[in-house]
Symmetry: C2
Subunit: 204 residues, 2 copies
């Protein structure tokens, strides 16, 4: 019996929630007491959704994204451009780019970025499967869509080196000021980069 | 298949977390992807802790607090003062008061406060069992430890009316400025109340 909680069942459930990132004990207790007030079937449904995801999740054997089948819905979509691969860190990035509605190619999910501080090296990423896809010879362009951080840039550099011997175009998403952002509030590194990477739209 | 999520299993798990109060879809996705990276046994343990709590939870038949047994550890503790009942809104309040180490009596958990806006009336609270405890005749004092809100005050008023015909002392926890709080930053209603409820500590 925990000294702090009046019930071991309660203590266990609070511990479970408090083990999640960004959720402290106070929030965990609030969530658990909320669940206690919900109908039994709802709470069992919650627990089942969590357990089943972890038990039954699959990863697309082509792009390594999360999928219900062996090949994800994007990789099995014949209307998409399979000659263009967008390399991203994780599934959230796939979803963010899909939400723009601006991209018709396919993806490759690395599953992380190189970060010596966190003990993540190149071998921890889905790198070989990307090289294999490019080595097949049907890919025309690989777009690096990685975060503008040291880890993202290191990873991008590593990917481009791994692919440098193949006949494939390498590009990276544009860095610059946000649409709607005011110049005076833009940090100077981004502003500097937006000038060196400027886009020419008229030549006289 | 959700348009937004690449997997129905993922969509279900995100929906489950996003149904919790204060958790939006973005946070829910972050939590779900975190769980996906954890060992299977951990995630199954998480799901089981949540389901078991809701399935097996008991409420103390005396004070209505959450308990693993029919009578909670506080109500079955013979060293505590069973002649003093502290009336609180919920289990968090029991835990908060226990953490002060200043209270040796027992509790009564109402399970809410009267709130017409939220459709909570007196009959939704554990009120009759409180009256029954007082009617037994062994209770000397009932301390109202309710929030200093309209709902808390209304509930306190209702409880005192229900107990007015019994030979029991009724008290309420002191309202005033927090220990360590500076006067100039105290809201004026609290400050006003701290003057009218002032404590005399020396008479000449």
């Amino acid at each position: 019996m925990s000294h702090e909680y009046p019930s071991q069942l309660l203590a266990n459930a609070v511990e479970a929630f408090a083990s999640l990132p960004g959720i402290g004990r106070r929030t965990a207790l609030r969530l658990v007491l909320y669940l206690l007030r919900q109908p039994l079937a709802n709470v069992e449904g919650f627990a089942e959704a969590v357990a089943r995801l972890r038990q039954e999740v699959k990863y697309c054997h082509v792009c390594q994204s999360i999928s219900d089948k062996d090949t994800c819905s994007i990789c099995s979509d014949t209307t998409r451009d399979h000659g263009t691969i967008c390399v991203v860190q994780n599934i959230q990035d796939v979803m963010a780019i899909e939400n723009t509605g601006q991209y018709r190619g396919v993806y490759h999910v690395l599953g992380g970025v190189i970060s010596p501080m966190d003990g993540v090296g190149p071998s921890d990423l889905n790198m070989e499967s990307l090289v294999d896809r490019v080595a097949e010879g049907n890919v025309k362009e690989v777009i690096l869509a990685l975060s503008s951080t040291t880890e993202g840039e290191t990873t991008g550099f590593y990917v481009s080196r791994k692919l440098s011997s193949y006949d494939v175009r390498l590009s990276t998403i544009a860095r610059g000021i946000s649409v709607g952002e005011e110049l005076e509030y833009t940090d100077e590194i981004t502003l500097g980069r937006s000038i060196t990477d400027r886009v020419v739209f008229h030549r006289d």
